[in-house]
Amino acid sequence: MAPKSDLLQGTLDLLILRTLSGEPMHGWGISQRIQQLSKDVLQVNQGSLYPALHRLEQQGLIEAEWGASENNRQAKFYQLTREGRRQLAEETKNWERLSSAVARVLAGL
């Protein structure tokens, strides 16, 4: 197992929201997708993923529905709500501001 990627809570939320911006996905799919897109740099710990999903669901940012998965089994699919989409846009903006700020500081040294 890769070193525990201690993602900041807000960051994990952002990644989940981003991952769900395309199509509905189940928990397993989300963790696979994040790992894949980050080229295995970010490995999502299941211990944080599911609590995060349930928290986002209660905040009304995502909603869940049971459906058939690719291998034809019942799985819980999550998708963004309207509010989730708005939150994603805002958080993405925040993140970009933050990361470019960090980049500028690092470059200035």
Binding site: H26, Q58, K76
Partner: protein, 909 residues
């Protein structure tokens, strides 16, 4: 937004489903991990192990997820509560009124429930207390017609197979000698295995063993915890000490732990072999010596119904075998759970009290709901603004309900405090009815009850206003719009409900009050002023049981005559009366079968019953009980002279009719087959009736016989004296000591005290119901005033127009009053109907209290005495009272309506 609420509510109510779903979701994840591992070339087993390792413990993940569900719920809840408290703090007056009203309702209910819980609900604090039963046997209804048990019958019932222990108890008073003062002790005479069957272990020393109960065994005593603390200061070294009692030394072998004592509190216990009466051969062999109470433990694993069948079997066999002793047409035996037996006489009173307290709570609910409704209208704008800013209907509802709950819980806590303060009073009250009174505390059950009732009440009074109106944004926001009267109908309905509930409660209070007044005003037939009573009990060893009857009687007669002379010699004592008991005393004389000379009882018909009582010559004079015919007892009516008796008027009327009683003779009939009838007794006088018990409005039929002819071991004395009570007691004690150092005198009370004690249970119950009724009346009056005031406020504009158009002020006044009266009349009509139905249902409970059964507990309180449930005076009085109170409540707002200045009202628009 609705989704939030849905998820949160779901997390409360659909917990199980959510758990299942979470499980399925995580399992899917693990399965996918396994598949991935297999795809990478692992064996399925290794793949699963690896997956589990990576995933970590599933429970930890689940716990984390569950935390999310909860924290979110509490977060929003806390926010609602904070907002609610802030809101209420802005209206401290309103909050105070609601909380105090609520506290009164909750306090009343908690207090009564704590009694119900301690006395009726809690299991007996004995090991497997539910398996303990009290045995009864007798004709038809064995509880009502209980015969009591004789030693022989105890042995018979030990044959019942499903009972693992059958033990006896009877209460005696013995004098403990060998300490500074002779002490008269209430003694429980029990079987050796009594404590084992009850499951009580001694605190010090040991309890009885079989050897202690063997005939001729050295006499031993076990002290009750209370007596041990009171008289020996809790000194454990008392175990092993020897005291004189009856005719032999008694050794203290043990001390009881502080457990409740059933069937009654006694000072000491002794095994049956130590009791001179119980151990006498004549008692042991007499199948009719039914002096015992029988307890039994139903074997574990045996159902109550099975043990019942076994008891019936024994009873049937007894009747077959000893036909003469059981001439009853339907002789039955019954085992009643001890718990029920101890509270039999108190149950109906308690349920009625809890019912009335419940009524108060309903009225409180309606009243607070009304207050909240009125407040809602004032908060219309605030609510509309919040709705306009995006608060959903459910969010607003939740907020309103949370506020109600905050109020309810505050009121509940205050109510709990109120009831805690009244606890001592309630214990004393209940102690008059049941030995279990001392188990009344505010325990977890009571706390849960209070919390539950508070929350329920909060939800009820909170949801009535919350659901009775729509949240309409637009009209409410528009400036100057008159609010609609959507809530008015609900408010009126609530008032009608309050009035009708109050009416029913006040009817109950009125009827019981009428009964109390009737009992209180009853002339008991004797004087109670300046009369002091006490007991004096001769030690049984003064005249050993071996002394033959005529001589023993002679010696007892002399003993008491000497004592009487000493009492008379006390300066300041006007007159001295002695006897077995006195009116209003707890111990009633038992009726006995008798026959008149030349009027033998008709065979097959029940024997006429009369109560035999003993009295000294001056007894009637001392009590001012007038002699209506014949002569009083004389000094010459002594042990050697022919037997004489004095009957009361009731007996004369009933058994002699128009025959002159004086000069005729009667004799007592034996209670057991083959027994000897009593000696012929000549009636020499007739006295006026007295009421032995205040609740019995018909006097007992009585015959008095002279103490000199029928002297007892225990006597009761009544002194007419001008001395202060303290001085008299000191002088009486000195006289008793001079007469016989072993003669204890006890139970000093004035007759006025005795009368007030006899009245106390009724007075307390009536005061409680009356207090609840008054509470209901005040709350309802406040509710009516509030609603009318509110309606007047809302219609100021309308009144302005009416008056501007020429309506006279008196017209407006009467219009408002009429509005109030319509509500009250509707409430009265509904209440009248309710009261009649309720009284019909409760009638049996109030009137037909079960007959007084043998036992030490006080008989059930008949709430209504000489008063019917449809007593017209009470109904009219209560209705008038409610109308007057309602009118006064309406008058203030009505006056304000009439004083509206049309110009001001219209300009305010």
């Amino acid at each position: 937004m609705i989704r939030h609420l849905a998820v949160r509510v779901a997390s409360l109510f659909k917990r199980e489903r959510m758990e299942r779903e979470l499980d399925a979701e995580l399992r899917y994840h693990i399965d996918m991990l396994v598949e991935q591992n297999v795809a990478r070339g692992m064996t399925p087993d290794a793949a699963r192990r690896e997956a589990m390792r990576v995933f970590g413990t599933m429970d930890a993940v689940k716990d984390d997820v569950r935390d999310r569900w909860l924290s979110r719920f509490f977060q929003v809840g806390a926010q609602d509560v904070r907002y609610g408290v802030r809101n209420l703090r802005r209206n401290p007056g309103f909050a105070l009124v609601v909380i105090v009203t609520m506290a009164l309702g909750i306090g009343a209910n908690t207090a009564i429930f704590s009694v119900v819980n301690g006395v009726l609900l809690r299991p007996l604090p004995y090991q497997d207390g539910d398996k303990l039963v009290v045995l009864h046997h007798g004709q038809g209804d064995p509880v009502a017609n209980d015969l009591g048990f004789s030693p022989k019958e105890m042995d018979d019932y030990r044959q019942a197979r499903s009972l693992s222990g059958v033990v006896e108890f009877h209460n005696m008073f013995f004098n403990l000698l060998g300490r500074a003062e002779a002490e008269r002790l209430s003694t429980g005479v029990v079987s050796a295995n009594y404590f084992d069957v009850l499951g009580v272990k001694p605190l010090h020393g040991r309890t009885f063993v079989a050897a202690d109960d063997a005939p001729g065994a050295p006499a031993v005593l076990v002290l009750s915890n209370k007596y041990w603390k009171r008289s020996f200061g809790g000194d454990p070294s008392v175990v092993g000490k020897v005291f004189r009692m009856n005719d032999k030394p008694h050794t203290v072998i043990g001390v009881m732990p502080p457990v409740p004592q059933y069937p009654l509190e006694v000072d000491i216990y002794m095994p049956s072999s130590a009791c001179p009466f119980r151990s006498a051969q004549s008692t042991i062999e007499n199948r009719s010596a039914r002096m015992l109470t029988a307890f039994a433990r139903v074997s574990p694993e045996v159902a109550m119904s099975k043990s019942q069948a076994d008891l019936e079997l024994v009873a049937n066999q007894l009747q077959l075998q000893y036909k003469d002793f059981y001439p009853h047409s339907e002789f039955r035996a019954l085992g009643v759970p001890l718990k029920d037996d101890l509270t039999r006489n108190f149950k109906s009173t308690l349920w009625i009290l809890l019912g009335t307290a419940g009524f108060v709570l309903l009225i409180v609910c309606a009243s607070i709901a009304n207050l909240l409704l009125a407040r809602m209208v004032r908060r219309e704008r605030e609510i509309s603004v919040r709705a306009a800013l995006g608060a959903t209907r459910s969010r607003l509802l939740r907020q309103l309900l949370t506020e109600s709950l905050v109020l309810a819980v505050c009121g509940g806590v205050l109510g709990l405090v109120l009831s805690a303060f009244s606890l001592t009073l309630l214990v004393n009250f209940a102690a008059r009815f049941t030995e279990r009174a001392h188990e009344i505390t505010i325990d977890t059950t009571v706390l849960l009850f209070t919390l539950g009732v508070s929350v329920m009440t909060g939800l009820v009074f909170g949801s009535i206003p919350a659901f009775s109106r729509r949240v309409d944004v637009a009209p409410a926001l528009r400036e100057g719009t008159r609010t609609t009267h959507a809530g008015q109908a609900v408010r009126s309905a609530l008032i009608v409900a309050q009035v009708s509930a109050s009416f029913m409660l006040l009817i109950a209070a009125g009827l019981t009050l009428r009964s109390l007044m009737k009992v209180q005003n009853l002339d008991p037939g004797f004087k109670t002023e300046n009369l002091l009573t006490f007991r004096a009990d001769m030690s049984f060893d003064k005249i050993p049981l071996t002394v033959p009857q005529p001589e023993a009687r002679q010696r007892r007669s002399i003993y008491w005559t000497d004592f009487e002379e000493r009492l008379k010699a006390i300066s300041g004592v006007i007159s001295v009366g002695g006897g077995g008991t006195f009116p209003l005393n707890e111990t009633n004389p038992f009726p006995n079968g008798f026959e008149r000379e030349f009027h033998p009882a008709v065979p097959g018909s029940p024997q006429p019953q009369i109560a035999f009582r003993v009295a000294t010559a001056d007894y009637f004079k001392t009590l001012s009980q007038p002699l209506v015919a014949g002569r009083p007892f004389a000094a010459t009516d002594d042990a050697g002279a022919p037997r004489v008796g004095i009957i009361n008027q009731s007996a004369a009327r009933k058994f002699w009719g128009t025959d002159p009683p004086i000069g005729s003779r009667i004799r007592g009939l034996p209670s057991r087959p083959g027994g000897q009838p009593g000696p012929w007794t000549t009636i020499v006088g007739v006295v006026a009736d007295v009421y032995q018990q205040l609740d019995q409005l018909t006097p007992l039929d009585e015959v008095y016989v002279p103490v000199r002819q029928v002297p007892q071991f225990g006597t009761t004395w009544v002194l007419h004296t001008q001395l202060s009570v303290e001085a008299a007691i000191a002088l009486i004690k000195a006289a008793a000591h001079a007469h016989d150092t072993d003669l204890p005198v006890s139970n000093f009370r004035t007759l006025a005290e005795v009368r007030s004690t006899a009245l106390a249970p009724r007075r307390i119950v009536v005061s409680l119901i009356g207090m609840f009724g008054l509470l209901a009346l005040v709350i309802t009056a406040a509710g009516i005033a509030g609603v009318i005031a509110f309606s007047v406020n809302q219609r100021t504009h309308e009144f302005g127009i009416r008056m501007a158009l020429g309506a006279p002020r008196a017209g407006v006044l009467s219009m408002v009053l009429k509005e109030g009266l319509v509500l009250v009349s509707a409430g009265l009509a509904l209440g009248l109907f309710g009261a009649l139905v309720l009284m019909r249902v409760l009638g049996a409970m109030i009137f037909d209290a079960p007959a007084v059964a043998a036992g030490p507990a006080m008989p059930p309180l008949k709430l209504l005495v000489d008063t019917t449930t449809t007593d017209a005076l009470t109904y009219i009085g209560v209705a008038l009272c409610l109308i007057v109170v309602a009118l006064i409540a309406c008058l203030m707002p009505a006056k304000r309506a009439a004083s509206v200045d049309p110009m001001v009202a219209l300009r305010a628009q």
